[in-house]
Amino acid sequence: MTVEAERITRRFGDAAALDGVDLAVREGELVALLGPSGSGKTTLLRVIAGLEGTDAGRLRIAGQDMAGVPARERGIGVVFQHYALFRHMKVADNIAFGLDVRPRATRPDRAAIADRVAALLDLVQIPELAQRYPDQLSGGQRQRVALARALAIEPRLLLLDEPFGALDALVRRDVRRWVRGLQERLGITTILVTHDQEEAMEMADRVAVMERGRIVQFDAPAALLEHPATPFVAGFIGDAAQLPCRIAGGVAHFDPLPIAPLPVSLADGPGTAFLRPAELLAEPGGSAVVRLLRPQGGGELHLVVEAAGQVLDARAAPGTRLARGDACHLVPRGGRVFPGAT
């Protein structure tokens, strides 16, 4: 099921939560909406679900204009951030709800609903929890119930709003791999909202990075890392340090920081560089000082160095021996440089 959003705008008072958003999601794809809080990603998801209105723009799902189509007629599966399970209903009744509320003409009979619920419970691997109430479940179990409930209506599109936010870090990684596997198996077009870049990068076919109500870049994860379109994307993705530099003769200079020059293809003038820890190699000697060491095993060593009053994450250059308090300098192995100071 394709989703096409064109110039969608949504204002709350004076603030634009969505400011002319364009987005085209392909059949069967998993797209992540990634951005800091307040960037409009949840609002966009709610607009697609029909839970939020728009002030301008057009939304089409499977080619059909969604103007005037209420949420209950869209047939979209939504997993809410806090799951929104019906607290007074057993797990099985929660999952059956979407079938139960259909008008008599299209409602499956009791036995068919029970079969479908059983199949869904198997699908999300919690058949033993059918008779429990939501408050008797763990976070991960609730999430599975929410997913099963959303899938029960055989949605053409699945929307997940921060679906792993309420899980602790250990469970989270397993659950998201399982969800991705399930999504691929069912082939259902899915849009996921998250503020966790690791989650977005790992799960999504393509990631839409949002900033202040706009999509600033929409690309495959690798492309976002290698070719960020704006300084915001470069800074938001990959834990890069943002450093001012001066470009002269095709080289970025970082002085007074003890960082070796980096070749770039930009015109002369001020610039802003984004360097990830893995791209900054520390070598002995220089005006920087090693403050903290974090051995990674296999001879790899993560460092925190202080240089000209700034604290930077770096790696020890292979084959070097550095200890806390040692003097060093930094050699960039790569990096992204944008013209202009920020």
Binding site: A71, R72, A84, L85, V101, A150, I153
Partner: protein
């Protein structure tokens, strides 16, 4: 030293004892004694007199009238209150705050004024008085007036009890139900209502207690015709003013019992709601 450890935020034992004693004394003097007085006075001349007083024709009529008034007023305020709560808690619209204020307004209006406003509209010299008189429709000094005044006075109870809970529960469950294809009525019946049932029941009980016990507002619109437009609280006044203390306190004891039962039920329901 084997003295029990005392937290820094705790009072000295003598201070605790003194405060507790003072609280209990005040509780007895201000709260318990009036209640005790009602039942003592009612039973002063024994069960027989009490039963005879309650069985009197006019008293029975007052009890019947009170039940009828409550049976009309309480459902109206329950439906209106639920509709207002649902609109306010689950939807956005301009004037939401104003609606909340209006719903709570009758609480800050004197019972006498609550009766007065209906006399101003329907009374002999009120806006619609002549029109009604020409058609021989009696509202003031008749059942409709009693019902209207009672609805006004008990107006906020259901909404006040249910609204905070509905707002606290948010809209996520209802939104989830909408994305699953449920209609408005299905969402209300199957998602919202089960979540608020204990609070709703508690609100209905409070509304009912006040509807049966209201005095000032119905006093203004009643006309005090014995056996006709006298509710129980009004009957208490009439008997009392006629120095028929046994009868007055007998009816008062019945009303006090209603209050006590409501109070107990409310406590149980609140505990239940917290658990559910």
């Amino acid at each position: 030293m084997s003295a029990r450890f005392r937290s820094a935020a705790e009072d000295a034992p003598w201070a605790r004892a003194l405060l507790a004693l003072a609280a209990v004394t005040i509780g007895i003097l201000i709260l318990a004694l009036p209640l005790a007085a009602v039942f003592t006075e009612a039973l002063r001349r024994g069960w027989g007199v009490l039963r005879a007083a309650l069985a009197e024709e006019d008293t029975m009529a007052a009890i019947r009238l009170t039940l009828v008034v409550a049976a009309i007023a309480v459902p109206i305020n329950t439906i209106g209150g639920l509709a207002a709560c649902w609109a306010i808690a689950k939807h956005d619209f301009p004037g939401r705050r104003l609606l909340v204020v209006l719903v709570e307004l009758p609480f800050s209006v004197s019972p006498v004024i609550s009766g007065l406003v209906f006399v101003l509209i329907f009374g002999a010299q009120g806006w619609l008085g002549p029109w009604l008189q020409a058609r021989d429709v009696q509202i003031i000094f008749a059942l409709p007036g009693l019902v209207l005044a009672t609805i006004f006075v008990t107006f906020p109870f259901v909404a006040r009890t249910v609204l905070p809970l509905m707002q606290e529960q948010g809209r996520e469950e209802e939104e989830a139900a909408a994305t699953l294809g449920a209609s408005g009525w299905q969402i209300f019946r199957r998602v919202t209502l089960p979540n608020i049932r204990w609070a709703l029941l508690s609100g209905v009980l409070l509304c009912n207690a006040r509807a049966m016990g209201e005095f000032g507002a119905v006093s203004v619109v009643s006309g005090h015709v014995r056996g006709m437009t006298n509710t129980m609280p009004l009957h208490v006044e009439i008997l009392y003013n006629e120095y028929q203390f046994a009868g007055a306190f007998a009816v008062a004891a019945l009303l006090a019992l209603l209050g006590l039962v409501t109070l107990a039920a409310k406590t149980v329901l609140e505990r239940r709601g917290r658990r559910a």
